[in-house]
Symmetry: C2
Protein backbone atom coordinates (compact mmCIF):
# COMPACT_ATOMS: atom_id res chain seq x y z
CA UNK A 1 0.00 0.00 0.00
CA UNK A 2 1.44 3.43 -0.90
CA UNK A 3 2.18 5.95 1.83
CA UNK A 4 0.42 8.73 -0.02
CA UNK A 5 -2.91 9.14 -1.73
CA UNK A 6 -2.53 11.03 -5.01
CA UNK A 7 -5.38 13.55 -5.16
CA UNK A 8 -4.32 15.07 -8.48
CA UNK A 9 -1.65 14.79 -11.13
CA UNK A 10 -1.33 18.05 -13.03
CA UNK A 11 0.83 18.54 -16.13
CA UNK A 12 3.23 21.43 -15.56
CA UNK A 13 6.31 22.52 -17.52
CA UNK A 14 6.70 19.15 -19.18
CA UNK A 15 6.48 17.21 -15.90
CA UNK A 16 3.77 16.48 -13.35
CA UNK A 17 2.75 18.21 -10.14
CA UNK A 18 1.37 15.55 -7.81
CA UNK A 19 -1.01 16.63 -5.05
CA UNK A 20 -0.49 14.13 -2.25
CA UNK A 21 -2.17 13.48 1.10
CA UNK A 22 -1.20 11.18 3.97
CA UNK A 23 -1.88 10.67 7.64
CA UNK A 24 1.25 11.90 9.41
CA UNK A 25 2.51 9.98 12.43
CA UNK A 26 4.51 13.04 13.44
CA UNK A 27 1.66 15.55 13.51
CA UNK A 28 -1.10 12.98 14.04
CA UNK A 29 -3.18 14.73 11.40
CA UNK A 30 -3.80 14.40 7.67
CA UNK A 31 -1.20 16.43 5.77
CA UNK A 32 -1.20 17.72 2.19
CA UNK A 33 1.91 18.25 0.09
CA UNK A 34 2.82 18.73 -3.56
CA UNK A 35 5.62 16.94 -5.40
CA UNK A 36 6.82 18.09 -8.80
CA UNK A 37 8.49 15.50 -10.99
CA UNK A 38 10.15 16.75 -14.19
CA UNK A 39 9.60 15.02 -17.54
CA UNK A 40 12.58 12.69 -17.14
CA UNK A 41 10.87 10.96 -14.20
CA UNK A 42 8.53 9.53 -16.83
CA UNK A 43 10.84 9.26 -19.84
CA UNK A 44 13.90 7.94 -17.95
CA UNK A 45 12.51 6.50 -14.68
CA UNK A 46 15.70 4.59 -13.95
CA UNK A 47 17.71 7.81 -13.54
CA UNK A 48 17.25 9.08 -9.96
CA UNK A 49 16.50 12.77 -9.55
CA UNK A 50 17.96 15.26 -7.08
CA UNK A 51 15.34 17.11 -5.05
CA UNK A 52 14.82 20.65 -3.81
CA UNK A 53 12.54 21.22 -0.79
CA UNK A 54 10.60 24.50 -0.81
CA UNK A 55 9.23 25.68 2.55
CA UNK A 56 6.38 28.20 2.36
CA UNK A 57 5.72 31.28 4.45
CA UNK A 58 3.01 32.37 6.87
CA UNK A 59 -0.60 31.63 5.78
CA UNK A 60 0.50 29.49 2.81
CA UNK A 61 -0.27 25.92 1.89
CA UNK A 62 1.64 23.70 -0.54
CA UNK A 63 -0.31 25.29 -3.38
CA UNK A 64 0.76 28.94 -3.29
CA UNK A 65 4.29 28.45 -4.52
CA UNK A 66 3.27 25.61 -6.84
CA UNK A 67 1.02 28.11 -8.62
CA UNK A 68 2.92 31.37 -8.29
CA UNK A 69 6.59 30.61 -7.62
CA UNK A 70 7.63 29.22 -11.03
CA UNK A 71 10.09 26.75 -9.54
CA UNK A 72 8.78 24.17 -11.97
CA UNK A 73 10.30 26.17 -14.84
CA UNK A 74 13.84 25.92 -13.46
CA UNK A 75 13.30 22.39 -12.16
CA UNK A 76 12.42 21.24 -15.67
CA UNK A 77 15.51 22.90 -17.13
CA UNK A 78 17.81 21.36 -14.51
CA UNK A 79 15.96 18.09 -14.08
CA UNK A 80 15.15 18.32 -10.37
CA UNK A 81 12.16 17.22 -8.32
CA UNK A 82 10.58 19.79 -6.00
CA UNK A 83 8.83 19.05 -2.73
CA UNK A 84 6.30 21.58 -1.38
CA UNK A 85 5.19 20.63 2.16
CA UNK A 86 2.40 22.39 4.05
CA UNK A 87 3.28 24.98 6.72
CA UNK A 88 1.61 23.33 9.75
CA UNK A 89 -0.88 20.70 10.84
CA UNK A 90 -4.44 21.97 10.52
CA UNK A 91 -7.87 21.66 12.09
CA UNK A 92 -6.87 20.50 15.59
CA UNK A 93 -8.82 23.16 17.50
CA UNK A 94 -5.95 23.78 19.89
CA UNK A 95 -6.07 26.94 22.05
CA UNK A 96 -5.07 29.95 19.88
CA UNK A 97 -4.54 27.71 16.84
CA UNK A 98 -6.75 29.75 14.55
CA UNK A 99 -6.83 33.16 16.24
CA UNK A 100 -4.07 34.86 14.26
CA UNK A 101 -2.34 34.46 10.90
CA UNK A 102 1.17 34.41 12.39
CA UNK A 103 0.75 31.57 14.91
CA UNK A 104 -0.84 28.12 14.77
CA UNK A 105 -2.54 27.08 11.54
CA UNK A 106 -0.37 28.02 8.55
CA UNK A 107 2.45 29.14 10.85
CA UNK A 108 4.28 26.09 12.18
CA UNK A 109 7.69 27.80 12.09
CA UNK A 110 9.45 24.48 11.36
CA UNK A 111 10.14 23.64 15.03
CA UNK A 112 9.04 20.74 17.24
CA UNK A 113 6.75 22.39 19.77
CA UNK A 114 7.16 21.71 23.50
CA UNK A 115 4.15 23.57 24.86
CA UNK A 116 0.89 22.01 26.03
CA UNK A 117 -1.32 20.81 23.20
CA UNK A 118 1.13 21.84 20.50
CA UNK A 119 3.87 19.35 21.47
CA UNK A 120 1.80 16.41 20.23
CA UNK A 121 1.14 17.86 16.77
CA UNK A 122 3.17 20.92 15.80
CA UNK A 123 6.38 19.04 15.01
CA UNK A 124 7.25 20.46 11.62
CA UNK A 125 11.01 20.02 12.07
CA UNK A 126 10.67 16.26 12.53
CA UNK A 127 8.05 16.14 9.82
CA UNK A 128 10.30 17.79 7.23
CA UNK A 129 13.63 16.25 8.26
CA UNK A 130 12.50 12.70 9.15
CA UNK A 131 8.97 11.64 8.25
CA UNK A 132 8.69 13.03 4.73
CA UNK A 133 12.13 11.74 3.65
CA UNK A 134 11.26 8.27 5.00
CA UNK A 135 7.89 8.13 3.28
CA UNK A 136 9.02 9.68 -0.01
CA UNK A 137 12.56 8.43 -0.74
CA UNK A 138 13.49 6.23 2.21
CA UNK A 139 13.61 2.43 2.02
CA UNK A 140 9.83 2.09 2.06
CA UNK A 141 9.26 5.38 0.25
CA UNK A 142 6.73 5.72 -2.56
CA UNK A 143 9.29 7.51 -4.72
CA UNK A 144 12.46 5.64 -3.70
CA UNK A 145 13.08 4.57 -7.30
CA UNK A 146 12.83 8.14 -8.58
CA UNK A 147 14.41 10.38 -5.93
CA UNK A 148 18.03 10.33 -4.81
CA UNK A 149 17.97 11.01 -1.05
CA UNK A 150 21.69 11.74 -1.14
CA UNK A 151 21.13 14.78 -3.31
CA UNK A 152 18.69 17.10 -1.51
CA UNK A 153 18.81 20.88 -1.04
CA UNK A 154 16.39 23.25 0.69
CA UNK A 155 14.92 26.70 0.11
CA UNK A 156 12.01 28.77 1.37
CA UNK A 157 10.27 32.12 1.63
CA UNK A 158 9.80 34.33 4.71
CA UNK A 159 8.86 31.93 7.57
CA UNK A 160 9.90 29.20 5.12
CA UNK A 161 13.21 30.99 4.60
CA UNK A 162 13.71 30.76 8.37
CA UNK A 163 12.80 27.08 8.11
CA UNK A 164 15.23 26.39 5.26
CA UNK A 165 18.13 28.20 6.94
CA UNK A 166 17.64 26.65 10.39
CA UNK A 167 16.99 23.11 9.13
CA UNK A 168 20.15 23.31 7.00
CA UNK A 169 22.22 24.72 9.88
CA UNK A 170 20.85 22.15 12.36
CA UNK A 171 21.05 19.16 9.96
CA UNK A 172 23.88 19.91 7.53
CA UNK A 173 24.21 16.19 6.77
CA UNK A 174 20.77 16.23 5.10
CA UNK A 175 21.22 19.05 2.59
CA UNK A 176 23.82 20.04 0.04
CA UNK A 177 22.91 23.73 -0.04
CA UNK A 178 20.37 26.23 1.26
CA UNK A 179 18.78 29.38 -0.08
CA UNK A 180 16.12 31.75 1.19
CA UNK A 181 13.86 34.51 -0.08
CA UNK A 182 13.23 37.29 2.43
CA UNK A 183 13.77 34.97 5.42
CA UNK A 184 12.92 35.69 9.04
CA UNK A 185 16.65 35.58 9.67
CA UNK A 186 16.85 36.50 13.34
CA UNK A 187 13.52 35.47 14.92
CA UNK A 188 14.89 35.94 18.47
CA UNK A 189 14.75 39.67 17.82
CA UNK A 190 11.53 40.18 15.84
CA UNK A 191 7.85 40.14 16.84
CA UNK A 192 6.88 37.20 14.57
CA UNK A 193 9.68 35.05 15.95
CA UNK A 194 9.16 35.97 19.58
CA UNK A 195 5.45 35.21 19.41
CA UNK A 196 6.00 31.86 17.69
CA UNK A 197 8.91 30.74 19.88
CA UNK A 198 7.02 31.63 23.05
CA UNK A 199 3.95 29.77 21.81
CA UNK A 200 5.80 26.67 20.62
CA UNK A 201 8.89 26.52 22.86
CA UNK A 202 7.84 28.34 26.03
CA UNK A 203 9.63 31.08 27.96
CA UNK A 204 13.19 29.67 27.95
CA UNK A 205 15.07 31.77 25.42
CA UNK A 206 17.92 29.26 25.43
CA UNK A 207 15.64 27.01 23.42
CA UNK A 208 14.75 29.82 21.02
CA UNK A 209 18.43 30.29 20.16
CA UNK A 210 18.57 26.76 18.76
CA UNK A 211 16.19 27.85 16.02
CA UNK A 212 17.59 31.23 15.09
CA UNK A 213 19.53 31.34 11.81
CA UNK A 214 21.72 34.28 12.85
CA UNK A 215 22.63 32.58 16.13
CA UNK A 216 23.33 29.26 14.37
CA UNK A 217 25.54 30.91 11.73
CA UNK A 218 27.55 32.58 14.49
CA UNK A 219 28.07 29.20 16.18
CA UNK A 220 28.87 27.51 12.88
CA UNK A 221 31.73 29.99 12.45
CA UNK A 222 32.94 29.46 16.02
CA UNK A 223 32.76 25.69 15.64
CA UNK A 224 34.69 25.99 12.38
CA UNK A 225 32.29 23.59 10.73
CA UNK A 226 33.53 24.52 7.27
CA UNK A 227 31.94 25.91 4.18
CA UNK A 228 28.36 27.20 4.21
CA UNK A 229 26.53 27.03 0.90
CA UNK A 230 23.91 29.70 1.35
CA UNK A 231 22.20 32.19 -0.95
CA UNK A 232 19.78 34.79 0.46
CA UNK A 233 17.75 37.35 -1.50
CA UNK A 234 15.69 40.13 0.04
CA UNK A 235 13.95 43.06 -1.68
CA UNK A 236 14.77 46.66 -0.82
CA UNK A 237 11.03 47.50 -0.85
CA UNK A 238 10.05 44.61 1.42
CA UNK A 239 7.68 46.14 3.98
CA UNK A 240 8.28 43.32 6.47
CA UNK A 241 12.02 43.96 6.22
CA UNK A 242 11.47 47.63 7.00
CA UNK A 243 9.22 46.65 9.95
CA UNK A 244 12.14 44.70 11.42
CA UNK A 245 10.60 41.24 10.96
CA UNK A 246 13.34 39.80 8.73
CA UNK A 247 16.66 41.25 10.01
CA UNK A 248 18.64 39.75 7.15
CA UNK A 249 21.34 42.32 7.90
CA UNK A 250 21.96 40.59 11.27
CA UNK A 251 22.51 37.29 9.50
CA UNK A 252 24.93 38.99 7.15
CA UNK A 253 26.82 40.53 10.09
CA UNK A 254 27.05 37.10 11.74
CA UNK A 255 28.62 35.67 8.58
CA UNK A 256 31.22 38.40 8.36
CA UNK A 257 31.83 38.40 12.13
CA UNK A 258 32.39 34.65 12.13
CA UNK A 259 34.96 34.83 9.37
CA UNK A 260 32.83 32.63 7.12
CA UNK A 261 33.38 32.92 3.41
CA UNK A 262 31.11 35.66 2.07
CA UNK A 263 30.05 36.23 -1.54
CA UNK A 264 29.56 33.83 -4.39
CA UNK A 265 31.91 31.20 -2.95
CA UNK A 266 30.20 31.04 0.45
CA UNK A 267 27.29 32.90 2.02
CA UNK A 268 25.83 35.37 -0.42
CA UNK A 269 23.23 37.93 0.74
CA UNK A 270 21.75 40.03 -2.06
CA UNK A 271 19.54 43.09 -1.64
CA UNK A 272 17.33 43.22 -4.74
CA UNK A 273 16.42 46.77 -5.68
CA UNK A 274 12.69 47.65 -5.52
CA UNK A 275 11.42 44.10 -4.90
CA UNK A 276 8.73 43.54 -2.27
CA UNK A 277 7.81 40.50 -0.12
CA UNK A 278 5.37 38.90 -2.59
CA UNK A 279 5.48 36.00 -4.99
CA UNK A 280 6.26 38.56 -7.72
CA UNK A 281 9.65 38.87 -6.01
CA UNK A 282 10.13 35.15 -5.51
CA UNK A 283 9.10 34.18 -9.02
CA UNK A 284 11.59 36.69 -10.42
CA UNK A 285 14.52 34.91 -8.76
CA UNK A 286 13.25 31.33 -8.66
CA UNK A 287 15.30 30.37 -11.72
CA UNK A 288 18.49 31.71 -10.14
CA UNK A 289 17.89 29.81 -6.89
CA UNK A 290 17.19 26.57 -8.73
CA UNK A 291 20.37 27.07 -10.74
CA UNK A 292 22.33 27.75 -7.52
CA UNK A 293 21.17 24.47 -5.98
CA UNK A 294 21.55 22.51 -9.23
CA UNK A 295 25.28 23.29 -9.20
CA UNK A 296 25.68 21.39 -5.90
CA UNK A 297 23.05 18.75 -6.58
CA UNK A 298 24.77 17.67 -9.77
CA UNK A 299 28.20 17.30 -8.12
CA UNK B 1 -3.49 65.00 -15.67
CA UNK B 2 -2.77 61.32 -16.35
CA UNK B 3 -5.53 59.04 -17.62
CA UNK B 4 -4.73 56.38 -15.05
CA UNK B 5 -4.17 56.32 -11.34
CA UNK B 6 -1.24 54.03 -10.45
CA UNK B 7 -2.34 52.00 -7.42
CA UNK B 8 0.87 49.97 -7.20
CA UNK B 9 4.19 49.51 -8.93
CA UNK B 10 5.57 46.04 -8.27
CA UNK B 11 9.04 44.87 -9.27
CA UNK B 12 8.77 41.70 -11.39
CA UNK B 13 11.33 39.94 -13.56
CA UNK B 14 13.56 43.00 -13.80
CA UNK B 15 10.69 45.28 -14.84
CA UNK B 16 7.59 46.73 -13.16
CA UNK B 17 4.00 45.56 -12.99
CA UNK B 18 1.81 48.65 -12.73
CA UNK B 19 -1.66 48.29 -11.22
CA UNK B 20 -3.75 50.99 -12.87
CA UNK B 21 -7.31 52.28 -12.41
CA UNK B 22 -9.37 54.70 -14.48
CA UNK B 23 -12.94 55.73 -15.06
CA UNK B 24 -13.88 54.23 -18.40
CA UNK B 25 -16.07 56.26 -20.75
CA UNK B 26 -16.92 53.06 -22.59
CA UNK B 27 -18.20 51.06 -19.64
CA UNK B 28 -19.11 54.08 -17.50
CA UNK B 29 -17.50 52.39 -14.51
CA UNK B 30 -14.12 52.39 -12.81
CA UNK B 31 -11.89 49.75 -14.45
CA UNK B 32 -8.71 48.10 -13.18
CA UNK B 33 -5.91 46.82 -15.40
CA UNK B 34 -2.28 45.81 -15.07
CA UNK B 35 0.57 46.89 -17.33
CA UNK B 36 3.94 45.17 -17.26
CA UNK B 37 6.90 47.19 -18.47
CA UNK B 38 10.20 45.33 -18.87
CA UNK B 39 13.49 46.73 -17.52
CA UNK B 40 14.34 48.59 -20.72
CA UNK B 41 11.34 50.90 -20.22
CA UNK B 42 13.37 52.35 -17.36
CA UNK B 43 16.93 51.92 -18.62
CA UNK B 44 16.24 52.93 -22.26
CA UNK B 45 12.98 54.94 -22.12
CA UNK B 46 13.53 56.40 -25.59
CA UNK B 47 13.20 52.98 -27.26
CA UNK B 48 9.51 52.21 -27.78
CA UNK B 49 8.30 48.77 -26.79
CA UNK B 50 6.02 46.38 -28.66
CA UNK B 51 3.05 45.20 -26.59
CA UNK B 52 1.16 41.97 -26.08
CA UNK B 53 -2.44 42.14 -24.81
CA UNK B 54 -3.51 39.22 -22.60
CA UNK B 55 -7.26 38.66 -22.22
CA UNK B 56 -8.32 36.63 -19.17
CA UNK B 57 -10.95 33.95 -18.85
CA UNK B 58 -14.20 33.60 -16.91
CA UNK B 59 -14.11 34.77 -13.26
CA UNK B 60 -10.66 36.35 -13.62
CA UNK B 61 -9.44 39.88 -13.00
CA UNK B 62 -6.26 41.47 -14.32
CA UNK B 63 -4.39 39.90 -11.41
CA UNK B 64 -4.76 36.15 -12.04
CA UNK B 65 -2.47 35.94 -15.03
CA UNK B 66 -0.14 38.62 -13.68
CA UNK B 67 0.49 36.31 -10.71
CA UNK B 68 0.17 32.84 -12.23
CA UNK B 69 0.70 33.09 -16.00
CA UNK B 70 4.48 33.54 -16.17
CA UNK B 71 4.22 36.01 -19.09
CA UNK B 72 6.55 38.51 -17.41
CA UNK B 73 9.35 35.96 -17.74
CA UNK B 74 9.15 35.85 -21.53
CA UNK B 75 8.32 39.54 -21.83
CA UNK B 76 11.56 40.39 -20.02
CA UNK B 77 13.57 38.12 -22.31
CA UNK B 78 12.01 39.57 -25.46
CA UNK B 79 11.59 43.12 -24.23
CA UNK B 80 7.82 43.44 -24.60
CA UNK B 81 5.19 45.23 -22.55
CA UNK B 82 2.12 43.23 -21.49
CA UNK B 83 -1.35 44.63 -20.96
CA UNK B 84 -3.75 42.70 -18.69
CA UNK B 85 -7.28 44.22 -18.85
CA UNK B 86 -10.16 43.15 -16.61
CA UNK B 87 -12.81 40.78 -17.98
CA UNK B 88 -15.90 43.00 -17.53
CA UNK B 89 -17.25 46.11 -15.84
CA UNK B 90 -18.20 45.40 -12.22
CA UNK B 91 -20.60 46.43 -9.51
CA UNK B 92 -23.43 47.81 -11.65
CA UNK B 93 -26.21 45.73 -10.08
CA UNK B 94 -27.74 44.93 -13.48
CA UNK B 95 -30.29 42.09 -13.66
CA UNK B 96 -28.43 38.74 -13.58
CA UNK B 97 -25.07 40.52 -13.40
CA UNK B 98 -23.86 38.61 -10.36
CA UNK B 99 -26.01 35.46 -10.40
CA UNK B 100 -23.61 33.13 -12.21
CA UNK B 101 -19.89 32.86 -12.88
CA UNK B 102 -20.27 32.53 -16.65
CA UNK B 103 -22.31 35.66 -17.35
CA UNK B 104 -22.10 39.30 -16.23
CA UNK B 105 -19.39 40.20 -13.73
CA UNK B 106 -16.08 38.60 -14.75
CA UNK B 107 -17.61 37.31 -17.99
CA UNK B 108 -17.86 40.17 -20.49
CA UNK B 109 -17.04 37.94 -23.47
CA UNK B 110 -15.31 40.82 -25.31
CA UNK B 111 -18.43 41.95 -27.18
CA UNK B 112 -20.39 45.24 -27.17
CA UNK B 113 -23.72 44.26 -25.61
CA UNK B 114 -26.99 45.28 -27.22
CA UNK B 115 -29.45 44.10 -24.60
CA UNK B 116 -31.25 46.29 -22.05
CA UNK B 117 -29.06 47.47 -19.22
CA UNK B 118 -25.95 45.79 -20.60
CA UNK B 119 -25.68 47.91 -23.76
CA UNK B 120 -24.65 50.97 -21.76
CA UNK B 121 -21.82 49.27 -19.90
CA UNK B 122 -20.77 45.82 -21.16
CA UNK B 123 -18.80 47.06 -24.16
CA UNK B 124 -15.58 45.14 -23.77
CA UNK B 125 -14.83 45.03 -27.51
CA UNK B 126 -14.77 48.82 -27.77
CA UNK B 127 -12.96 49.06 -24.47
CA UNK B 128 -10.11 46.77 -25.59
CA UNK B 129 -9.86 47.87 -29.23
CA UNK B 130 -10.48 51.62 -28.84
CA UNK B 131 -10.49 53.14 -25.37
CA UNK B 132 -7.48 51.40 -23.84
CA UNK B 133 -5.26 52.01 -26.90
CA UNK B 134 -6.22 55.70 -26.89
CA UNK B 135 -5.57 56.17 -23.19
CA UNK B 136 -2.39 54.09 -23.06
CA UNK B 137 -0.48 54.67 -26.30
CA UNK B 138 -2.63 57.03 -28.38
CA UNK B 139 -1.81 60.71 -28.85
CA UNK B 140 -2.90 61.65 -25.35
CA UNK B 141 -1.89 58.31 -23.86
CA UNK B 142 -0.04 58.05 -20.56
CA UNK B 143 2.48 55.62 -22.10
CA UNK B 144 2.74 57.07 -25.62
CA UNK B 145 6.49 57.61 -25.21
CA UNK B 146 7.05 54.00 -24.16
CA UNK B 147 4.66 51.85 -26.21
CA UNK B 148 4.68 51.47 -29.98
CA UNK B 149 1.00 51.25 -31.01
CA UNK B 150 2.07 49.93 -34.41
CA UNK B 151 3.47 46.77 -32.86
CA UNK B 152 0.70 45.11 -30.86
CA UNK B 153 -0.32 41.43 -30.68
CA UNK B 154 -3.03 39.70 -28.67
CA UNK B 155 -3.45 36.48 -26.70
CA UNK B 156 -5.83 35.06 -24.12
CA UNK B 157 -7.09 32.08 -22.17
CA UNK B 158 -10.49 30.33 -22.42
CA UNK B 159 -13.08 33.17 -22.71
CA UNK B 160 -10.04 35.41 -23.23
CA UNK B 161 -8.86 33.07 -25.99
CA UNK B 162 -12.24 33.64 -27.66
CA UNK B 163 -11.68 37.36 -27.14
CA UNK B 164 -8.19 37.32 -28.63
CA UNK B 165 -9.20 35.29 -31.68
CA UNK B 166 -12.35 37.28 -32.47
CA UNK B 167 -10.80 40.71 -31.88
CA UNK B 168 -7.90 39.76 -34.17
CA UNK B 169 -10.22 38.38 -36.84
CA UNK B 170 -12.56 41.40 -36.62
CA UNK B 171 -9.78 44.01 -36.41
CA UNK B 172 -6.76 42.57 -38.22
CA UNK B 173 -5.35 46.07 -38.73
CA UNK B 174 -4.79 46.39 -34.98
CA UNK B 175 -2.73 43.27 -34.29
CA UNK B 176 0.28 41.58 -35.85
CA UNK B 177 -0.50 38.10 -34.54
CA UNK B 178 -2.86 36.20 -32.25
CA UNK B 179 -2.58 33.22 -29.97
CA UNK B 180 -4.90 31.47 -27.58
CA UNK B 181 -4.81 28.98 -24.73
CA UNK B 182 -7.80 26.64 -24.60
CA UNK B 183 -10.09 29.17 -26.31
CA UNK B 184 -13.87 29.02 -26.55
CA UNK B 185 -13.35 28.60 -30.27
CA UNK B 186 -16.91 28.09 -31.49
CA UNK B 187 -19.21 29.81 -28.96
CA UNK B 188 -22.23 29.52 -31.29
CA UNK B 189 -22.25 25.82 -30.52
CA UNK B 190 -21.40 25.61 -26.81
CA UNK B 191 -23.43 26.36 -23.65
CA UNK B 192 -21.09 29.13 -22.39
CA UNK B 193 -21.23 30.95 -25.70
CA UNK B 194 -24.96 30.54 -26.23
CA UNK B 195 -25.76 31.87 -22.76
CA UNK B 196 -23.44 34.85 -23.15
CA UNK B 197 -24.49 35.74 -26.70
CA UNK B 198 -28.18 35.54 -25.80
CA UNK B 199 -27.60 37.70 -22.72
CA UNK B 200 -25.48 40.32 -24.47
CA UNK B 201 -26.65 40.24 -28.11
CA UNK B 202 -30.23 38.98 -27.89
CA UNK B 203 -31.96 36.23 -29.86
CA UNK B 204 -30.68 37.05 -33.37
CA UNK B 205 -28.08 34.40 -34.12
CA UNK B 206 -26.88 36.42 -37.10
CA UNK B 207 -25.27 38.75 -34.59
CA UNK B 208 -23.73 35.85 -32.68
CA UNK B 209 -21.92 34.72 -35.83
CA UNK B 210 -19.99 37.99 -35.93
CA UNK B 211 -18.28 36.98 -32.71
CA UNK B 212 -17.51 33.34 -33.34
CA UNK B 213 -13.88 32.54 -34.15
CA UNK B 214 -14.67 29.44 -36.19
CA UNK B 215 -17.23 31.34 -38.28
CA UNK B 216 -14.85 34.27 -38.76
CA UNK B 217 -11.99 32.02 -39.84
CA UNK B 218 -14.26 30.37 -42.39
CA UNK B 219 -15.18 33.77 -43.81
CA UNK B 220 -11.56 34.92 -43.72
CA UNK B 221 -10.72 32.01 -46.00
CA UNK B 222 -13.64 32.74 -48.32
CA UNK B 223 -12.73 36.42 -48.46
CA UNK B 224 -9.14 35.42 -49.21
CA UNK B 225 -7.90 37.98 -46.73
CA UNK B 226 -4.41 36.52 -46.71
CA UNK B 227 -2.18 35.00 -44.08
CA UNK B 228 -3.47 34.31 -40.59
CA UNK B 229 -0.85 34.38 -37.86
CA UNK B 230 -2.47 32.26 -35.22
CA UNK B 231 -1.20 29.82 -32.59
CA UNK B 232 -3.64 27.81 -30.45
CA UNK B 233 -2.79 25.40 -27.63
CA UNK B 234 -5.26 23.17 -25.84
CA UNK B 235 -4.62 20.39 -23.33
CA UNK B 236 -5.76 16.83 -23.96
CA UNK B 237 -6.94 16.60 -20.30
CA UNK B 238 -8.92 19.85 -20.44
CA UNK B 239 -12.27 19.02 -18.82
CA UNK B 240 -14.00 21.98 -20.49
CA UNK B 241 -12.77 20.72 -23.86
CA UNK B 242 -14.26 17.30 -23.16
CA UNK B 243 -17.53 18.95 -22.06
CA UNK B 244 -17.75 20.58 -25.50
CA UNK B 245 -17.23 24.15 -24.31
CA UNK B 246 -14.11 24.87 -26.38
CA UNK B 247 -14.57 23.07 -29.73
CA UNK B 248 -11.06 23.90 -30.88
CA UNK B 249 -11.39 21.04 -33.37
CA UNK B 250 -14.10 23.02 -35.19
CA UNK B 251 -11.76 25.97 -35.54
CA UNK B 252 -9.10 23.66 -36.90
CA UNK B 253 -11.54 22.19 -39.43
CA UNK B 254 -12.51 25.69 -40.56
CA UNK B 255 -8.86 26.49 -41.19
CA UNK B 256 -8.32 23.36 -43.25
CA UNK B 257 -11.70 23.71 -45.02
CA UNK B 258 -10.95 27.29 -45.98
CA UNK B 259 -7.62 26.39 -47.53
CA UNK B 260 -5.78 28.63 -45.06
CA UNK B 261 -2.17 27.82 -44.40
CA UNK B 262 -1.99 25.33 -41.53
CA UNK B 263 1.02 24.53 -39.36
CA UNK B 264 3.95 26.64 -38.28
CA UNK B 265 3.69 29.00 -41.24
CA UNK B 266 0.02 29.80 -40.72
CA UNK B 267 -2.59 28.63 -38.25
CA UNK B 268 -1.11 26.18 -35.81
CA UNK B 269 -3.37 24.22 -33.43
CA UNK B 270 -1.51 22.08 -30.90
CA UNK B 271 -3.03 19.47 -28.61
CA UNK B 272 -0.78 19.35 -25.54
CA UNK B 273 -0.70 15.91 -23.98
CA UNK B 274 -2.08 15.65 -20.42
CA UNK B 275 -2.48 19.40 -19.83
CA UNK B 276 -5.67 20.70 -18.16
CA UNK B 277 -7.49 24.05 -18.33
CA UNK B 278 -5.63 25.73 -15.45
CA UNK B 279 -2.88 28.29 -15.13
CA UNK B 280 -0.47 25.35 -14.72
CA UNK B 281 -1.13 24.70 -18.41
CA UNK B 282 -0.88 28.31 -19.45
CA UNK B 283 2.29 29.03 -17.50
CA UNK B 284 3.94 26.01 -19.12
CA UNK B 285 3.51 27.46 -22.62
CA UNK B 286 3.59 31.20 -21.86
CA UNK B 287 7.24 31.45 -22.95
CA UNK B 288 6.46 29.82 -26.29
CA UNK B 289 3.53 32.14 -26.96
CA UNK B 290 5.56 35.21 -26.09
CA UNK B 291 8.30 34.01 -28.41
CA UNK B 292 5.75 33.39 -31.18
CA UNK B 293 4.47 36.96 -30.96
CA UNK B 294 7.94 38.46 -30.52
CA UNK B 295 8.90 37.12 -33.95
CA UNK B 296 6.20 39.27 -35.59
CA UNK B 297 6.49 42.19 -33.18
CA UNK B 298 10.17 42.63 -33.93
CA UNK B 299 9.70 42.64 -37.73
Amino acid sequence: MPNFETRASIASFGGKLLKLTHHSKTTQTPMNLNLFLPASAFTHPSRKLPLLIYLSGLTCTADNCSEKGFFQHGASLHNLAILYPDTSPRGLNLPNESDSWDFGSGAGFYVDAETDGYRDHYRMESYITTELPELLWGEGGDYRELIDGGRVSITGHSMGGHGALTLYLRHPELYRSVSAFAPIANPLNCPWGQKAFKGYLGEDQGKWREHDATELVRRWGEGKKGELRMLVDVGTSDSFASQGQLLVENLEKAVVGSGLKAGKEGVEVRYQKDYDHSYYFMASFADEHVEYHAKFLKE
